[in-house]
Amino acid sequence: MELDRRKRLASLPFSEKIRILEKLRDRSRTIAASGLRKEAVRQQMRKVQVGRNPPGPLHTAAWTPRGAEGQGGR
């Protein structure tokens, strides 16, 4: 069914497909400008990190477990 839908779209005239492409591009631009995608990705990544990272903003740098700070012999 999904493949049929794709084949039907593929069989459209090129100019018509380009119009669809432009709508997809405009939608992506709108989403990118709104920051919604970034937030959605953040939320998804938080789900994966549950139990490993502390709550709060996404940590992309190396994370030090709580209480471990200052234990490096300083």
């Binding site: 380009i18 492409l21 591009r25 992506s28």
Partner: protein, 171 residues
């Protein structure tokens, strides 16, 4: 898109570029269903400047900047599309450009790489999205397999193809 192509065609008429052809996701859309993309990739033949064998994209940017187009990273916005101009880097890309058939978009003349060259270039490039696109071409029977085999063999891509096919196309 029409305005973008008309500007590029004007550049071709004035001899700034030779033949050009649409590649990448927009090129693939000629054969497949549309899939979101932020820019147009265009392979372009560049005339060598007199007395030099070095090719440069600078004349393209100079021509377009003089007509109000602005740079956006490594792309230049022509009409309402960011365009990435690419000079063919190897024999496969040169052949792809030379053999690209003519078509038109909303009445504007243009050229698009063949499905077989798009697949071969995607295989050569080898990113995840390229592999996904190759699978799409096969799912939708959009490739002449004999022609693809000839292209792959000619450009030494058969071993890479066999490895790809084992991984992604065999049930």
């Amino acid at each position: 898109m029409k305005a973008t192509l008309e500007m590029i065609n004007g550049m071709q008429t004035e001899g700034v570029i030779g033949k050009y052809a649409i590649a990448g996701a927009v090129g693939a859309t000629f054969y497949l269903e549309p899939s979101a993309t932020a820019d147009i990739e265009i392979f372009v033949m560049l005339p060598a400047p007199p007395g030099s064998s070095l090719l440069s994209l600078a004349p393209i940017y100079k021509y377009l900047a003089a007509r109000g187009c602005r740079m956006e990273g490594e792309r230049i916005v022509v009409g309402d599309w960011p365009v990435q101009f690419l000079a063919p880097r190897n024999a496969l890309e040169q052949e792809a450009l030379a053999e690209a058939p003519e078509t038109d978009i909303e009445g504007a003349r243009t050229w698009v790489l063949t499905a077989e060259h798009l697949v071969a270039i995607a295989l050569q490039t080898g990113r995840v999205k390229d592999h996904a696109r190759i699978v799409q071409f096969f799912e939708e029977n959009a490739v002449d397999t004999d022609k693809l085999k000839r292209v792959l063999m000619k450009h030494g891509l058969t071993p890479k193809w066999e490895s790809f096919a084992r991984k992604y196309l065999e049930e």
